[in-house]
Each structure stands twice: as C-alpha cells, then as structure tokens.
C-alpha cells in the first residue's frame, strides 16, 4: 500500500503562542478514508487545510502525493498539489456569479486546458452522479444547501483529484439535507477515493472510515479503526468527547 499523505511533526502557531497544531504526525494511505474528529478548536480544520497549502506551516514537513511542503516551500509546489487534491468546504463556497455548470467547468477549462465541450460533458456526468443533473443551468443562490454542497463535490471531482479533503461538509446544512451529501461521499469512498474527512457525523465515521483519528488541542490523541474507537476508545479524552456527541 502506498502512502498518499505523510505528515511529520507539523507545527502551526497563531499569535499569542496558541498552537493550532502541536507536533502532528500521521500517514494516509492511498484508497483509505481517514475521518478526523475532535472538539472545536482542536486543530482538525487547520490540519487538513495544511494539506493543500491553505495554511502555512511553522514547523515539520508534509509529503502530499510526492510533493513536499514545509515552512519554506514555494508557491509552485502548492499549485502542483492543488491540481491533484480536491477540497470541499463547510460553507460550499460556490461562485455565486457563475452557473452551476460554469462553476464545475471553470478549473478544467482554465487550469487543465480541457476543451469546453469535453469539460461540460464531464460536468454533466458528475451532476448526474450527484443526482442534480437538472440544476446545471441554475445559479448557486437558487439551490438548497444540500444541492450546493453536492455541486461543490462535483466541482472538486471535475479535476480528477487523487485525494479529496472534506472540511466539515455537513455542518452548515439543515438536518434533513445531511443525508444526501453523506450518500454522495459514501459512494465516492466505495469507488476507492483517498479521503480525509473532518466531520462530527458519527454514523458516517463508523460506517465508511477505515481509520478514525481523534484530535484535541493541536495534538493527535489516538488513531484507531472505527470499531475500536467507538466501542473501546483507549483515551479518556476520546471517551468524554464521544459521550458528549451521543447526547
């Protein structure tokens, strides 16, 4: 099994000496789904945002698909990674001035220089896969949150990424819309996509994750398979967190 992401002793500090990441080391294998959990402020979002260079590092090093990121990497390396790693945000972040179709085809046409017709064909296939083909010519503001998030997933997939990062993809959704997005992600995992998912959805973690990583105060508390994590967590902090989540 080959490694997709290897993080070694990552450090990221904000002003006043607060450490968002305090020596994080981990590996994500190709084809693996890693779910990252933890209380808010534990550094989990910061962690996956370092994977594609949205957050800079103060210490340690990352190897993402063979490209190295550290405290002094060049902008060129970040762009190299971004072409091969997709990301989905909590707030969808669709481009409001572009139609759904244009949102999806923008990067394939402008970054990968694909032909417009081919890019649109691929976009329609992806929308089909997400179950929202009929929304292609609408604008983001006309879609529900769940639909927008599925467009965001399609937009990331349109670049044929090798790794997908999800930063709390269901946290901004109405409860009845959560399932449609999780279903799309589940399907993606089944297809063998390498995924790092920050989420509070216990059911999704239990069912889809290959491993669950629990973080607190910028550190990795424990990493286990979901079975162990949910029924028999090693650490007191993990158990307390799970207790709170289940109530």
């Amino acid at each position: 099994m080959t490694v997709a992401i290897r993080a070694t002793d990552l450090v990221k500090s904000y002003s006043q000496g607060v450490r968002a990441l305090d020596g994080v080391t981990l590996e994500v294998n190709r084809g693996e789904v890693l779910v990252v959990m933890g209380p808010s402020g534990s550094g989990k979002s910061t962690l996956i945002r370092t994977f594609n260079g949205l957050e800079s590092l103060d210490g340690g090093a990352l190897d993402v698909l063979g490209v190295r990121l550290d405290a002094t990497h060049a902008e060129r390396q970040v762009r190299e990674i971004r072409k091969r790693v997709g990301m989905v945000f909590q707030q969808f972040n669709l481009f409001p001035h572009l139609s759904i179709l244009d949102n999806i085809t923008l990067a394939p046409i402008k970054v990968q220089q694909r032909a417009k017709a081919a890019a649109e064909q691929r976009a329609m296939d992806l929308l089909d896969q997400m179950g929202i083909r009929e929304q292609a010519h609408k604008y983001p503001a006309q879609l529900s949150g769940g639909q927008q998030q599925r467009v965001a997933i399609a937009r990331a997939l349109a670049l044929d990424p090798e790794v997908m990062l999800f930063d709390e993809p269901t946290s901004a959704l109405d409860p009845e819309r959560v399932k449609e997005v999780l279903d799309a992600m589940r399907q993606l995992a089944k297809g063998g996509m390498t995924m790092v998912v920050v989420t509070h959805e216990l059911g999704f973690a239990r069912e889809v994750a290959d491993r669950v990583m629990f973080m607190d105060r910028g550190q990795v508390v424990e990493t286990s398979d979901p079975e162990t994590f949910f029924s028999n967590a090693r650490e007191e902090r993990s158990r307390r967190f799970l207790n709170q989540m289940q109530h």
Binding site: F95, L106, A141, Q142
Partner: protein, 324 residues
Amino acid sequence: MNRWLDRGITLLLLALLGWAGWSILHWLLVGADWSVVTTNLPLYAVGSFPADQRWRPLLWMAALITLTLLTLTGPKRGWVRRWLPLVWIAMAPLGLWLLAGGLGLLPVGTRSWGGLTLTLLLTGGSGALALPLGILLALGRRSELPVLRWSSAAYIELMRAVPLIAVLFFGQLLIPLFLPPGLEINRVLRAVVAFALFAAAYIAEDVRGGLQAIPPTQREAAAVLGLSPRQVLQLVVLPQALRVALPSLTNQAVGLLQNTSLMAILGLVELLGISRSLLANPAFIGRYLEVYLWLAAVYWLACSAMALLARHLEVQLDPARSAS
C-alpha cells in the same frame, strides 16, 4: 391634534404649489420666449460643426439613442441581445471617427466639436479611461506590496482632496508643462485625460468597496481548484466585486456626465458652454430662464437614461434572477 397639523401642512403645501404653478403658467404664457432654444437646436446638438458635415455627429447621437431604446425595450433574448454589448463598446471609436474624420471623411478639428455631442464624448471618453485606471488603483491599494499600496493610496487621497475644477484647470495648464517640448495635445484630449485622472480616484474607492465585500473564502475556493492568482482575480473576485460596486459606479458615471459642464468655465463649448455663448449674443439677451430650463431638461434626460441603462445592466447581471 395631529390630524389638524397634517391638514394644515397639506393646505400650506397646496397653497405654495398653486402659487408656484400659477406663476409658472403665467410666465410660460406671457413671459417665455423659446426662440433662443428653437432657433439654435443644431448648436445645442453639435456645436459649430461644419453645416454640411452635421450629419456625422447627428448620426452618432441617433445611433446612441436607438441603442439605448433597444437595450431598454428590445427583445429579451436572441441575437440582438447577444450583440448589444459589443455594439455599445464600438460606439466610442465610432463616435471619434465620425467627429474627427479621416478614413474617407473630411477631417474636422476639435475646435469645432461642441454641444451635447461633445458632452457625451467627454463623458464616454473619460469614463472608458477612468474605469480601468480606477480598477488598477483599487487593486494597488489592496496589494500586499507596500510600495504599490502606498503610492496608490497617496494618489487616491490627493485626488479626492482637490476640487474637480482645479484638476481640470491645471490639467489644461500643467499637462503641456509636463510633456516634452514640441509634443502638444489638444484641449479636448487634455480635458478627457484630466477628467479620467480625477474620476479614477473615486472609481478606485468604489471598486475597493466591492473587493472588500467579497469574502476571502471565495479566493480560497478558487485557489484550491489550482487557479493562478491572476485567474482568481480575473475570473472569480473582480466579476463579483464590480457587480457589487455597480450602483456606486453608476452614480460616478452620472456625476461624470454632470461634471463635464465644468468645462464650460474653461472655455469648451459643450452643452453648457454653447449655451453661455448663446446667452452672450445680443439677440437672446436675458433669456436665462428659458435656456437653463431647457438645459436642465436635457441633462435630466441624459442622466436618467444613464441611470436606467445601469439599472438594466444590474438586473441582467444579477445571478439570482430566474434563469428559466
């Protein structure tokens, strides 16, 4: 109590309105002499453009009016709609060619340009220069590079501190001083440049407001798709920022049109300038009210048309409009 006050105000206003209405009616019937307007219509429209060549500016204005009507009331979709933006952009070079001549047309010097034609040309020309300059200044003011940020901010703040008339006056006076000896540019062009330099500072602030309204997450979302910084700006940030800034940019455009009247003080015979020279003509002495009312009506119409066009553009660009 309140009701009585309300009625009192209504009565008072009605009395005032009645008195004003009667005075105006009386003046219109007895005092007004519109010959100062009616006999000089060509002058208001095209200034002292050679009589046998008047069709050129008139054709241009007719095209502008047709285009305005077509944009506002024409078909909502189809090939006409698709070509409209291009035709609008083509109006500026077309106007220049029709006025200046050359390429088969008899050349006419800028000295003979005047009236509403010159007003519109000054507005369009300086607007077309000021918008890109203003956008660059706004981007400069938000740049991460201190040298760029400071110099843009200094330019914007200095320009916004001085009155327009001073900028125009010194534009006429100073631009030649700063140019290499021997290189001379004519008065109209100097005016256009001065207007553009002035308006750009205000446009920059409006665009900056628009840029500030775009959440940083939009940049992030575009960046993680692998778009280069320039592409992020050009494809994602600027289109949204300009849309946000459009209402205030419209105000700037209307202001620009109104401010071209200041060139009358500096001796250009645009709409207001030509009227001043008409009022100095002994045949029309003292006909201030007729001329000013007529001018007010023309400016009001032109400004309203511009505001309507901008409003139309706003609706066209609104992503939330029903796409069905």
